[in-house]
């Protein structure tokens, strides 16, 4: 279980997180939604110790990780995988070696098993024939999927997905959502996903939380979330459901 207590984080003058309290239920898929620039990526990076809170605590199964460094932090990180919003593929390696990197470096598989595991995972994300390409030769959506393969291939206990489907066409977005969902059901990892794809995320998530003004303003089971009456939440949820440009005008129209 991941727990955040009173996490505050700023950059220079700018306050981004202003006291985040959040409990991520183990073995479930929790999606964090919220407007652009609110600090969703920053929040995710706190969970794996890439950013340290100015104040507050981050607990991963009874270990407070925000003060850890070096080998003790690495020990916690070995249980994680993360898909970055930018995919963060290694430019100097082709797609195959990118996906193989964590397997080889964490010594999770003997070298003879690596090709099968990697190709299998590339197949699943629809990049079966792309192993030899370099990141610079891929489209944005293909990079995302390669990054997804790199996160899933190690079979981690906890996976952080930062906008796995942003920039993909609707069909591919659905494929990736279904892939995440089915992998989650098979392997039972704890998943924390950041996404804007309202309402698509509701059927695949167990829990949904919303970040706004640097705080978690709502968290509920996915099926209950759309029924919440908080006006800020309703506005965000409905904006996603309504078609056309008038959707930005919010719930008043409905």
């Amino acid at each position: 279980m991941i727990t955040m207590r009173g996490v505050e984080k700023g950059f220079g003058q700018q306050e981004v997180l202003r006291g985040v309290d959040l409990e991520i239920p183990p073995g479930q898929l929790t999606t964090i939604i919220g407007p652009s620039g609110e600090g969703k990526s920053v929040l995710l990076k706190h969970m794996i110790g890439l950013l340290k809170p100015d104040r507050g605590e981050v607990w991963v199964d009874g270990v407070e990780i925000s003060r850890l460094r070096g080998p003790s932090l690495d020990k916690v990180r070995k249980r994680f995988a993360m898909l970055f919003q930018s995919a963060a593929l290694f430019d100097s390696m082709n797609v195959f070696d990118n996906v193989a990197f964590p397997l080889r470096e964490k010594r999770l598989a003997s070298e003879s098993k690596v090709p099968r595991m990697v190709n299998d995972m590339l197949e699943r994300v629809g990049l079966g024939e792309m192993g030899h390409k370099f990141p610079a030769e891929l489209s944005g959506g293909m990079k995302k999927r390669a990054g997804l393969a790199r996160a899933l291939v190690v079979g981690p206990e906890i996976i952080l997905f930062d906008e796995p489907t942003t920039g993909l066409d609707p069909l591919m977005a659905r494929t990736i959502h279904n892939l995440i969902r089915s992998m989650h059901q098979v392997f039972g990892f704890t998943a924390i996903m950041v996404s804007h794809q309202v309402p698509d995320i509701f059927p695949i998530s167990d829990w949904v939380a919303m970040l706004k003004h640097g705080k978690i303003i709502a968290m509920a089971r996915s099926r209950d979330f759309q029924g919440l009456t908080d006006p800020v939440v309703r506005e965000f949820v409905l904006a996603g459901e309504m078609p056309g440009p008038s959707s930005v005008e919010g719930p008043g129209q409905n």
Binding site: I48, L50, F84
Partner: protein, 255 residues
């Protein structure tokens, strides 16, 4: 009062930066000796720092040797000592110009590329990604570069010295008519092991300076394209300056 505050705070941030630089170096060196070892990455970097710089080093070396012979010839002729031209060229090359100019070429060619490579990895979150996989980026990225730098620069400097002396030979003997016999025999009688040893010591330490400074600047690049440009410039300028300053200190100790 404002001036005092300004001076105080910039001194503090300078001290902080220096502290951070030394910490970075110590970490990198410590990681060299800890498993997992990655010899393939060191070879890769040797190719990158060493082999790919060979051409510019050869080119600068031959012209440096040629101009050294030209200058030396006209100075020595005043004393009727043209016969010593070979040793003048060789000593200048081995003790001073080879290590300094060779390392400056490595800085310009490989050091800047190193800063840019690591800096891009920083701003595109590749270094963060590596950390999330529990792979230490200093060990994976920096340590092999430092090892390769310390190995490659002395070799490049050796090439620089030899090619430079050959350039001096071309101008001195073939162009200006110094006798070939006295050119080589003066080298043999005047150049001692201590000269070679001093040049070797210099080039090892310059190799460390280049890789250390350029990697450091890349690793702590500010998160923007502007920051990347700044880091690359600073890396090249700072390592060039440090090479010259350290050269003075080493020379005054070695002499």
């Amino acid at each position: 009062m404002k001036v005092l505050i300004y001076i105080g705070s910039s001194t503090l941030s300078l001290l902080e930066e220096i502290g951070r630089m030394f910490l970075f170096l110590l970490q990198a060196i410590a990681w060299i000796f800890r498993p997992p070892f990655r010899p393939a990455r060191i070879l890769n970097q040797l190719y990158f720092i060493g082999f790919k710089t060979t051409f510019v080093v050869t080119l600068t070396a031959i012209f440096t040797g040629m101009v050294l012979a030209l200058q030396g010839y006209y100075s020595l002729r005043k004393f009727g000592a043209e016969g010593l031209l070979g040793s003048a060229v060789a000593l200048g090359m081995i003790r001073e110009l080879g290590p300094v100019l060779g390392s400056l070429m490595v800085t310009a060619r490989s050091g800047s590329a190193m800063t840019a490579e690591i800096g891009i990895m920083r701003i595109t979150e590749q270094i963060d990604a590596m950390e999330t996989m529990a792979v230490n980026p200093i060990q994976y990225l920096i340590a092999p570069k430092i090892v390769a730098g310390v190995m490659a620069v002395p070799l490049l400097v050796a090439i620089f010295d030899i090619v430079g002396i050959f350039g001096g030979y071309l101008v001195g003997v073939k162009l200006l008519g110094v006798s070939s016999g006295s050119f080589w025999s003066s080298i043999e009688s005047e150049v001692g092991w201590s000269d070679v040893y001093g040049g070797f010591l210099k080039s090892i330490s310059f190799g460390l300076i280049v890789t250390w400074v350029c990697c450091y600047k890349g690793f702590y690049t500010e998160m923007s394209a502007e920051g990347l440009g700044k880091a690359t410039t600073q890396g090249v300028v700072l390592s060039s300056v440090l090479i010259l300053v350290w050269d003075y200190f080493l020379t005054s100790v070695l002499l």
